[in-house]
């Protein structure tokens, strides 16, 4: 079984200040972890992924996340927020167990709504 908890439903920051979106996970197996972003009326876009390689993962648009096994966390950060970062962010976990034709279904957190103040 696997689960994801996004600790904040809403985060508000000023443009140019750092962003921190928090995520804790639970997985019976060595997990793959992802952050996806969803802009209004758009599909989900992959920001970055962790798949048991480097624990500090760099993604698109200046985002990065650090996998901390001891804390079962995978927090998303960005040094300087931009207005275009306003969106819904989802932390996602998938077990690495091979099953069927591919990996298991993804388990999503409930999302964090990121608001950027001008």
């Amino acid at each position: 079984a696997q689960s994801v908890t996004q600790l904040d439903s809403h985060v508000s920051v000023s443009e140019g200040t750092p962003v921190l979106l928090r995520c804790n996970y639970s997985s019976s197996y060595s997990p793959s972890l992802f952050w996806y972003v969803q802009h209004p009326n758009k599909g989900l876009q992959l920001l970055l992924k962790y798949t048991s390689a480097a624990t500090l993962v760099k993604g698109i648009n200046g985002f990065e996340a650090e996998f901390k096994k001891s804390e079962t966390s995978f927090h998303l950060t960005k040094p300087s927020a931009h207005m275009s970062d306003a969106a819904e962010y989802f932390c996602v976990v998938s077990s690495q167990e091979i099953s069927g034709g591919g990996a298991d279904g993804l388990t999503f957190g409930k999302g964090t709504h990121l608001i950027i103040q001008p």
Binding site: G43, G100, G102, D104, G105, F108
Partner: protein
């Protein structure tokens, strides 16, 4: 390269009716998963299809069924629609293998009235 395409984009149905949603995976992908995203919630896994068979299923009733065709495209069928089935339905495609890097379509917005 076309990504994941879904049709239709919007749909309105009446309670008790049946609906079929369609998905074409990204080129080179052979596995399709379906997700339901209720308003204000994260997507929830419905099921996954590979080699034209359902391989994994989430916690959804049998009213939700699917199909995968030889060209890897897929359909999601929902029978006896309930008001609670109103949601954004997302299709994701991956290449079968150890790691998941799912590409998502823009979704079908289903409204049940």
């Amino acid at each position: 390269d076309a990504g994941v395409t879904q049709s239709p984009t919007h749909l309105i149905k009446t309670r008790g009716q049946q609906v079929t949603l369609r998905c074409s995976p990204k080129s080179g992908h052979d596995t399709v998963s379906w997700y339901q995203q209720a308003l204000g919630q994260g997507p929830q896994f419905i099921f996954q299809y590979y080699e034209e068979e359902e391989r994994q299923r989430g916690n959804f009733p049998d009213r939700f069924s699917g199909h995968q065709f030889p060209n890897y495209s897929s359909e999601l069928n929902v029978n006896a629609l309930l008001l609670g089935d109103s949601a954004l339905y997302l299709c994701a495609s991956v290449t079968s293998g150890r790691y998941t890097e799912a590409f998502f379509g823009q979704g079908t917005r289903l409204t049940v009235v």
